[in-house]
Symmetry: C2
């Protein structure tokens, strides 16, 4: 029997924010593979499945394991939070299956990406053209990241920052904001959502000049408004231009 590998994005973390397709893919899988933290979340929703997990930074190893299991004829669900196709595992799965010459069916199931779930909690900050930028320099040169920040600044695009801080590089968000201050007022609204969809979820709305960088960590998504974004009644709104 031909094996199957489904790369599943399960959204921010609650079962409510998964799609029916994502839940079915997990329920129908012989093996559910993923990063330890994600597997711990899913065990609550789908008890009794066979789970395989590896720690952080073991993405390549984890993908090989999942591809090998699929090659042996199993139906494997490779899971990650958010959307599997945005800073997710879909790319590396295709690359590794290709390299291994794996004759398996690969399918990608999209999920709600962090920009969308953060925005839904902040109000409506993403109503206009948007840049998604990861501040992780593990695999992307710092200069290229900041070039993209600069471009988003020139284009007055709303920005959602993924991976705004890591343990080793702590000042990237501060640097990115200093780049954006060339183009936008310090009063530009900023939304920070930590642990989206989890029990200790925290929502902060502030401005570019008043960000408390100490409270930002790797569990945060940061949304920077464009020149039109405003805050009303505790909500961050980017108007699209409707005549009201």
């Amino acid at each position: 029997m031909k094996g199957k590998l489904t790369v599943v994005g399960f959204g921010p973390g609650s079962k409510e924010d998964m799609t029916f397709r994502a839940a079915s893919a997990i329920e129908e899988a012989d093996i559910v593979t993923g990063y330890t933290t994600y597997i711990d979340i899913l065990k609550e929703f789908f008890p009794g499945k066979i789970y395989k997990s590896t720690g952080m930074m073991k993405e390549v190893e984890r993908c090989r394991m999942a591809v090998e299991d699929a090659m042996s004829g199993k139906n494997v669900a490779m899971v990650s939070s958010g959307d599997s196709g945005i800073y997710g595992m879909a790319g590396i799965v295709y690359q590794i299956a290709d390299e291994m010459g794996a004759e398996i069916d690969i399918e990608t199931v999209p999920g709600i990406t962090a920009a969308s779930s953060a925005a839904s909690l902040l109000g409506a900050p993403l109503m206009h053209d948007l840049a998604l930028i990861s501040l992780s320099d593990l695999m992307t040169p710092f200069d290229l990241i900041m070039k993209r920040v600069d471009c988003a600044g020139i284009g007055d695009m709303v920005i959602a920052f993924y991976n705004p801080k890591s343990k080793s590089r702590t000042d990237y968000l501060e640097h990115a904001v200093s780049v954006l201050l060339k183009y936008r007022s310090g009063d530009t609204p900023v939304g920070i959502v930590r642990n989206i969809g989890r029990k200790d979820q925290k929502i902060t709305i502030t401005t570019m000049s008043r960000i408390d960088y100490a409270q930002v960590d790797m569990f945060c998504t940061v949304v920077i408004g464009n020149s039109q974004t405003y805050v009303s009644d505790g909500r961050m709104i980017t108007p699209r231009g409707y005549k009201i």
Copy 2:
């Protein structure tokens, strides 16, 4: 009783790609309000609800109606495809409720945005920093749109174009691609998905210099790769940089 208005993104169109939260919001609503085409889709999945629909370009009117219904104490679900928070109805709902002084509860339920669903069908094109740009100039000046395209070009960002063509302005995508050709090779992969998740869904993978503009219409989402994007086995992949 205080009324409630939930702005629901139901994803690309199939029930499988809705979240549990979106389905619950629709099931629990007294009235489901939306654009006629979307309501027709939902009637199949949720028969027996009370639906209210208005045609295209009636967004402001539709929002007022939904806010008024909520003000009368009803539980209203305002629906749209994709993510309600990305080029969706969330912003205008907050703006109109604010203007009307409506004391109602407003909640936003995110959905799978077109960039995510298109990417899942094309392979894994969105694995790196990304710009979402709408080519509709109904409410955004043409020059600002093209400035953003130029910025995304300078920053070598993957781009997902929403609203690539309308009936009145047919050459915006062609213009945008000509801007990007300043920075990217004509061989850069391009993915076009039409009618995502519907019966007549069509997936095309081509290159910047070979786009058949006649086949692109307002029902398409267009993904342009960055300088690293390649096509393998009919799939469009943007590597993130993992050492395989």
